[in-house]
Amino acid sequence: MLNTQPNLLACDDFYEALIAAHQGLSTPESHAMNARLVLLLANHIGDQATLQHALQLARGSVVPTADRRTTPAITPVVPTHAVAA
């Protein structure tokens, strides 16, 4: 489950840093940065149920599921990725 209790100790510092990080960016650049931020933080959290809960709370309404009959436990196909040359 997502921890929604106060957990960010220096919350004012973080908030200021977040706004500062967007300084000088155009709105599309800010959107792009936010998207990258979401992916980075999601990877850090790593747990699907926690992320699902966060999506739910962020949206504030029921998150639609993908238009698919079932969401089976997909056979993993992610190959190992070597470092870019």
Partner: protein, 548 residues
């Protein structure tokens, strides 16, 4: 010419010659009967799926009639990527080596964004598998080798120029009306398998539907034959937004005979007729290959893609397999590959039922097993298509964010989806599985396809999958208990005695200890495993795997 008189060299000829083979019409004695002839199994369609199914059944001793409205191999350019699992199945059917010898083997893929390489991946990073992750081979070659193999088997009667025009299904079979160059006739099938492709006339004749999504995008597929040596290595190259084709994606693949397949994403607004003109294609290809490249256009077409499936693949005695049952977009090469897996799932079940070793309930399990696999394929190919062709501004935003991060971060490379390439589904929920009672690590759970491993037998190298029996195999690490010899329809394979696991890879991949036992189905899926089973446990798992 009677197809049985076609000289073997004809199937080893050049692409153009192979595509020109004309399978002659031969009048069947069935056409002169007063009453429709009775056949245990009739297959409609001599594509890769129908042919693989017929060969499997004939190798098991069944008689099969294959009806095809055409008299040629598949024309032009369709499937090119055939997966490791398909090759393993074709090995069992006696044609795997032939495919690998002609095909281009590859394991490496590279992903580019604009002019920069983001990363590369290896689909088969570990040693100790007989077959590569993929070969590229033109579909007409694959079909040619399957037809050649089918013609060697006395149990298969392929009837070219035989178009099925009506199907009347009954509780215990189906009556077919067939049109030929010299008139119509009827035959009666105890079991009918429709492998008649995505438009499936059988499906339509029975008033059944295939439902799903059509993707609003168009792709140009160009096959070009390069003169001289190409600089591109034997790898799958995928570009997002390349300078030579801005804002779209491009995929490049090598095929035998120095032919290269290039897929250009065109967008929904493209005019297919305009895009198909050589004068529009050639500059696109030239921009990719470079100004010096000399090439000829071999084949070009413009496609849209759909993800569709029938609700149920089994309708009494009429069964659907391959594209007739499900259609996927091509990112991931899941069409023919999953269809061949359908065929192998069905072949042993039909054989067992016709031999009286199992009840029709066994054939019925083909439905849920392959519907599950189709969902997995559809899910993977839909996700890939959505990633490549984002449907909304925000989905493009996240797509681009993932690509941007992939330059430097391994986690983001795993999010980038240029097609999750075909692997066999693990049939987790199959009613034929006996759930584990002992603890095991690794991927070889009941429902998984057995992983291959190198072995030796009497000092000679061999492979685990090659040593499996035609029916069930009881894989025993160490000496088998005496009762194992009396199990019906079971080959006993003792690792360490009949074959030697000299690199210990079989034991490692199967998380085996001395006395560990795996029960493997005729289609090489694991259906049960134990640390030390009793005879009763194995017999009960066997009964369950035969839907008894």
């Amino acid at each position: 010419m009677n197809p049985r008189d076609i000289p073997p060299e004809a199937f080893h000829a050049s692409g153009a010659e192979v595509q020109a083979i004309d399978f002659g019409y031969v009048r069947s004695p069935d056409q002169d009967r007063a009453m429709p002839a009775q056949h245990p199994i009739v297959v409609i369609g001599a594509g890769p799926v129908g042919l693989s199914l017929a060969i499997d059944l004939a190798q098991r001793g069944q008689r099969v009639v294959v009806l095809d409205n055409d008299h040629k191999l598949s024309i032009g350019s369709r499937a090119i990527c055939f997966a490791k699992r398909t090759l393993e199945i074709w090995d069992r059917l006696g044609v795997g080596q032939r495919m690998v010898d002609k095909g281009v083997s590859w394991n490496l893929g590279k992903v580019f964004l604009k002019e920069e390489q983001l990363y590369e991946f290896n689909l088969l990073p570990e040693e100790g598998h007989e077959r590569p992750a993929f070969i590229n081979l033109q579909q007409y070659y694959a079909e040619a080798y399957l037809v050649e193999r089918a013609l060697q088997l006395p149990g298969i009667d392929i009837r070219w120029h035989n178009k099925v025009t009506a199907v009347a299904a009954r509780d215990n079979g189906a009556l077919l009306s067939v049109e030929t160059p010299d008139g119509a006739y009827q035959i009666d099938a105890q079991w009918l398998v429709a492998c008649d492709g995505s438009r499936s006339p059988t499906r339509q004749m029975l008033g059944l539907e295939s439902k799903g999504r059509i993707f609003q995008d168009r792709f140009l597929i160009a096959d070009v034959k390069l003169q001289g040596d190409a600089d591109f290595p034997t790898e799958r190259w995928f570009w997002f937004d390349p300078p030579f084709h801005p804002h779209q994606s491009v995929l490049l693949h090598r095929q035998p005979d120095n032919v290269w397949r290039i897929d250009f994403q065109l967008g929904w607004d493209a005019d297919p007729e305009e895009e198909k003109k050589p004068e529009n294609i050639i500059p696109r290809v030239q921009a990719l290959l470079g100004a010096e490249a000399q090439f000829e256009l071999d084949w070009a077409s413009v496609y849209t893609f759909a993800c569709l499936r029938m609700d149920q693949f089994v309708h009494g005695r009429v069964i659907f397999a391959g594209d007739s049952a499900h259609g996927v977009s091509p990112f991931g090469a899941r069409g023919a590959n999953s269809g061949v897996q359908d065929a192998e799932n069905l072949a042993w079940k039909l054989d067992w039922v016709l031999q009286g070793r199992a009840s029709p309930a066994l054939v019925a399990t083909y439905g849920p097993e392959r519907e599950y696999a189709a969902d997995e394929n559809l899910c993977n190919s839909t996700r890939a298509t959505d990633f490549i062709t984002p449907k909304s501004e925000v989905s493009r935003l996240f797509r681009d964010a993932a690509l941007h991060l992939a330059r430097e971060h391994a986690f983001a490379r795993r999010i980038v989806n240029s097609g999750r390439l075909s692997v066999p589904a693990t049939l987790h929920a199959s009613p034929l599985n006996t759930p584990d009672t002992d603890a095991f690590a690794g991927t070889q759970v009941p429902g998984a396809v057995l992983l291959d491993a190198p072995l030796t037998k009497q000092g000679q190298p061999t492979w685990l999958l090659r040593e499996l029996g035609p029916d069930f195999t009881l894989l025993v690490f160490g000496p088998a208990p005496a009762w194992a010899r009396d199990l019906p329809g079971v080959t006993v394979l003792q690792i360490g005695i009949d074959v030697i696991d000299h690199q210990a890879l079989a034991a490692q991949r199967l998380d085996a200890l001395p006395r560990t036992v795996y029960l493997v189905r005729p289609d090489q899926h694991v259906c049960a495993r134990w640390r030390t089973p009793t005879e009763a446990a194995v017999r009960s798992a066997l009964a369950r795997a035969a839907a008894a």
